[in-house]
Structures are given as structure tokens and as C-alpha cells.
Amino acid sequence: MSTPDLVADAVVKRFADHVAVDSLSFSVERGSFFSILGPSGCGKTTLLRMIAGFIEPDDGDIAIGGRSMRGVAPNRRPVNMVFQQLALFPMMSVGEDVAYGLARRGMSRVERMKRSNAMLERVGLGNAADKRVDELSGGQRQRVAIARSLVLEPTLLLLDEPLGALDLKLREHMKIELKQLQASFGTTFVYITHDQSEALVLSDHVGVMSHGRFEQLGTPQDLYYRPQTPFVAAFVGANNRIVGRATRSDGSLAEIATADGWVVRALKTGAIADGDAVEVFVRPEVAMLARSAAQLPPDQPQHSGEVQSVLFDGANSAVLLQEARTRREFRIALPQTGQFSDLKPHEKIAFSFDPSRAVCFAARAGTAGQDA
């Protein structure tokens, strides 16, 4: 096994009165796509800027390609960064921009223009070398920013929410392109984003960050199907959150009752004793609908509700229910078959979900009893 391209060892960064990055340790394997996912203010930008070298950690060490980066200036690190606003140089042509880093290494003009053109060719901008930055579209600029970094063959490519400024359609397109670029270059990518869909689609591994720490580090599938903390369950993907108390334990499952008397069952994650305040998370696609309770799987606890509204969004369509007794909101994905496309508001409907596919956690301090 080769040494990881990036190793962070107990990295700490404090600003005045708060800890932006709190003793963080992780490693990123060579050639993988690693994402740091978190809401704004979680410390992910600080972490990325420490890797790039713009900020020195207060404590701990960052090693890139097996070499400690303590005291190494950004221009001497084998790392390049794609900036959030791209930061392309308006005073240069696209070709000069891509060749900029090579020029700084003292490469001859002929050689660097050759490499710059070859790199632009590889990202599908073969004829753009003589254009000015403002003549390019958003997606093309994105590719120039990536080409400008990759032409230097860095050990690590850092990407600071590079898709944030694009419109939705282009963002979806660039997601696929980024993934293909990373696969074809084989460079290790470290990507930060607050968009969980970007992180899930692109990454081999994702670190979910909150308050300067990783809540969970794992594959996108791990985060989605096996969240380890309520924060991850709430942040990654859509989820129905139900707050209550554990009333009974049944092997790996727990029975939870809400304050107003709705009883559900879910898989325990971590230690939960009877009487503990818990948070239950049920994904919209885990629950199934039926016009009569008899059509539901007989081994699952059955619930009933009233249709509040139908949220049509093509393949992501869902129905928003109110649980019959407690009037709590509950979101259920509509099946792709179009079976329930004729649902009307105020219609009564039955639903159930597999308790082993719903998760529950001991409630986070300060959130017990609070509803989502």
C-alpha cells in the first residue's frame, strides 16, 4: 500500500474566540476523490486553506505526499487549488493563464505553450488558447481553472466549492465532467462543498464536518445508509425526523413513542436505554404507501395519515402526509410506477416502513424534545 497523498494529524486552528478546526485527523489515499461536506461555518474552508498553505495550523501537522508541510509556503507546495470564484487572470489569454504556473517554474515559452495547449486539448478547449477569459462560458472557465492547476501535475488538487456559482443545469453537467476528469488524470482530489448531492455523486470518501470536527468519514453509501450521528442523518439526503423516547428494546430495534403518542420502531445506532430521548430518521423512499392497510407488508408496523400535498418533481416526486393521530408531517417518495399519481389532498392513506431501514440515535444535547 502506497503512502496516502494527504495526511492530517490532529490539526487545530483557532480564531480569536472559536475553534475553526478542532483536532482533525484523516488521510486521503492516492488517486481518490475525497470530499469535505458541511454547512457554511463548519471550518471546511479553513481546513482547505491550511492544506493549500494560506493558513498555518496552530497545532498538528499536515503531510502531503509523505512530506510534512509545516513552514512550507503555498508556492512551494505540491498542491494546487481551484478557487470558488475561479480567480482566472483577466490580464492574460487562456493559454497564458494555463501556462502561468509553468512559467513560474522557469520553463521555456515554447515548451510551456505546448503543454498548455495539450492540457486545454485534454479538457476539451483545444481552440480556446487565444481567447480572453471573459469570452468563455461558465463551464469553460471551470475547465480552464482545473487545467491551469492540473498542468502542474500536483500531488493534490484542492477544489473550493467550484460549482457554487453555476446554474443548476450546468452544475449537474459539471459534476459528471469533474468525475470523469478525476478518473482520467488519476490525481487526488480534495473537494469541499455544502451540497450533499455533489459530495455523494463525486466522491470515493466523504468527511461530514460540523463545528470543526468530522461527524463521520466514509463512503457515500455509508453516509446515506448507515449514518453514525443524527447530524449526518439530517444533513445527508432527505429524512423524516421524529423525536421521542425509547420505550422498549427488541434486539437491535427500539420502540419509540413521541410525546403525543405516536409509536414507531427503528434500528438502534449507538447505546440507547429505555427512557432515553431519541431522534428517529426515516428516509422518504423507505416508507411505502397503500390505499388500504391490507395491502401493506404484514410484518411492518402500520400507520395512517392524510394527504397534505403532492410534491410533483418528476422522478423525485413525493407526498407530504399528516400522521392521522398526531398531525405530524411525514414525507414519502412516490413510486416510479405512477401508481399514486392521482392522490388528492385530504385523502386518507395507509403507510408503513421497514424498522430495520429506519435509524434512531440518542438525542443530541440541546435538541431533545425539539421537532424538526
Binding site: A52, F54, P74, N75, R76, N80, M81, F83, M91, R104
Partner: protein, 289 residues
């Protein structure tokens, strides 16, 4: 009334003060000066058209020597002002945040609340033989007797730079403020050191501001009369003094007018050369001022 005619009238009225100012105070006197400069007095109230005034300028070494000296000193003063103003503008635009930035700006502005004459006299109080600085030098044991610091070229340059500094700082600050910090970071990230960033990113971005500041400062310096007269004295040999002498002392308006036009030609020529060398367009530059 035809609305289009109405609009034209409104535009004309709006432009009237500017046109009056241009016509009455700039174009008209210059036309008159041009006529003056191309004639020669042959007897009492008798004039003939001639190039005598311009011939005198080239024939008399003192005149074109002073002329060249003024040009060279103005270029040096402009260069020094740029070197001094750039770090100041950088600090105001990039390093000082919020209130500190405006405070620094006000500090640059404060001297201009005092009239130029008083400011220059202030320099004289500091620098003359019986002044503050020579006395200080004696006290520190650096010189045995007080030295006269006035009437030297260096003193003249100090005065000129001091007078022009603000006019360089303002366009520089505005052009540096518009430079996105992430461009600097990106250049740093791509392997540039401080000097390479300055040369490849900061200066190209600030070029219109630099050119604008240089043009303004150069013109102000070239046309300055007070500072060279007070700080340089007789040694200053500034071309504006020659013009003054011709008009007021010699009462030779024809010669003075010719000198005036030569100075105008000089400043125009140097500004055009400056724009050519820096690859800037006049329109872009003036938008930054």
C-alpha cells in the same frame, strides 16, 4: 414645441457652463496666445508675423537647457511619487480594513486643507539654514555648522513629490481596490513569489491607475510654479519661471506665449510617449482618475 428640439435645448443648457468655461478660459486665451507667439514687434505698436520667438528659444542655450531640465526633473519627481505612493496605496487598499483604511486616506488628505503656499513655507521653516532640521543635525553631531538645505535639487524633488502624492495615491487606491484578492492567492498557489505576483498580476491590473496617476502628477509638476520658486530659489531653473519672467518682468508677452506653447507641446508629447510605452489607451486611463 417639437419634443426633440426641446431635448436638444435642455442638453444645450446643461452643457452651457462647461462650454463657456472651455471656450472663455481655455480655447480663447490659447488662440490669443498662439497669435501672440507667432508675431514680432518691429516698432512701437508695429507687429509682423514671424517665428522669431521660437527661434530665440532654440538659439539661447539657457532656455532649452531649463526646458529639458524641467522635463527630466518632472519625470524623476513622477517616478519617485509612484514609488512612494504605491506602498501607501497598497496598505490603504489591501492591508488596512474598514476604518483604518479611511483613516489613512484622511491622513494623506489633511495636508491639502492648508494652502499650497503655507505648506511650502512650512518646508522652508524646516529646511532653511536657521531652520529646524539643520539645527537638529548640529545637535546630533552630524554637522558642525547648520547647513542650508533649501535651494538644492533634492529639496525641490521632496517638495514636488509631497505636493503630488495625493494625486497618485487616489487612482492607485481605486485600481488596487478592484483587484480581487483571490487572484493574488491563485498566483501564489501556482508558484509565484512576491515579486512575480507584483509583476505579473498586480501591475498589469493596476496599469490604468498607475498611468492615470503618472499623467496627473507629471502635468502638475511640469506646470508647478510655487514649489520650484520657493524651495529651489534661483537655482531651481523651472520653465514656468521663465514664462513668468517673460510676461511679468520683461513684459515680452510674445516670448512668454511661445514658451507657454512649448511647455504644452512638451507635456503632450511626454504623455503620448508614456501611453505608448505602457500600452494604455487614454480613454481607459481617464475613466480611472
Amino acid at each position: 414645441m417639437d419634443p426633440r428640439w426641446h431635448a436638444r435645448l435642455a442638453l444645450g443648457l446643461l452643457l452651457a457652463p462647461a462650454l463657456l468655461w472651455l471656450g472663455a478660459l481655455i480655447i480663447l486665451p490659447h488662440v490669443d496666445l498662439a497669435v501672440l507667439s507667432f508675431r514680432e514687434r518691429v516698432g512701437p505698436r508695429q507687429y509682423v508675423a514671424s517665428l522669431a520667438q521660437y527661434k530665440t528659444f532654440f538659439a539661447e542655450p539657457l532656455y532649452w537647457h531649463v526646458f529639458l531640465r524641467t522635463a527630466v526633473m518632472s519625470v524623476i519627481a513622477t517616478g519617485l511619487t509612484l514609488l512612494l505612493a504605491f506602498p501607501i496605496a497598497w496598505i490603504i487598499a489591501k492591508l488596512a480594513r474598514g476604518r483604518a483604511g479611511s483613516l489613512l486616506f484622511i491622513i494623506c488628505l489633511i495636508p491639502f486643507w492648508v494652502s499650497e503656499t503655507v505648506r511650502t513655507l512650512g518646508w522652508m521653516i524646516l529646511l532653511r539654514e536657521s531652520g529646524v532640521l539643520p539645527a537638529l543635525l548640529v545637535k546630533m553631531g552630524l554637522t558642525h555648522v547648520p547647513v542650508e538645505l533649501l535651494y538644492r535639487d533634492a529639496t525641490l524633488l521632496v517638495g514636488l513629490v509631497y505636493t503630488s502624492l495625493l494625486f497618485m495615491v487616489v487612482p492607485l487606491v481605486s485600481s488596487l481596490e478592484s483587484l480581487d484578492d483571490s487572484l493574488i492567492e491563485a498566483a501564489y498557489d501556482l508558484g509565484s513569489g512576491g515579486f512575480a505576483i507584483l509583476r505579473s498580476i498586480v501591475i498589469p491590473h493596476a496599469a490604468p491607475g498607475i498611468t492615470a496617476g503618472c499623467i496627473v502628477v507629471f502635468m502638475l509638476t511640469l506646470g508647478n510654479y510655487l514649489t520650484p520658486t520657493l524651495l529651489g530659489g534661483k537655482n531651481s531653473q523651472w520653465f514656468t519661471e521663465q514664462i513668468y519672467t517673460q510676461f511679468i518682468t520683461r513684459f515680452n508677452w510674445e516670448q512668454g506665449a511661445a514658451f507657454g506653447f512649448l511647455l504644452l507641446a512638451l507635456s503632450t508629447a511626454l504623455v503620448v510617449i508614456g501611453l505608448r510605452v505602457s500600452g494604455q489607451r487614454f480613454g481607459d486611463v481617464m475613466r480611472r482618475t
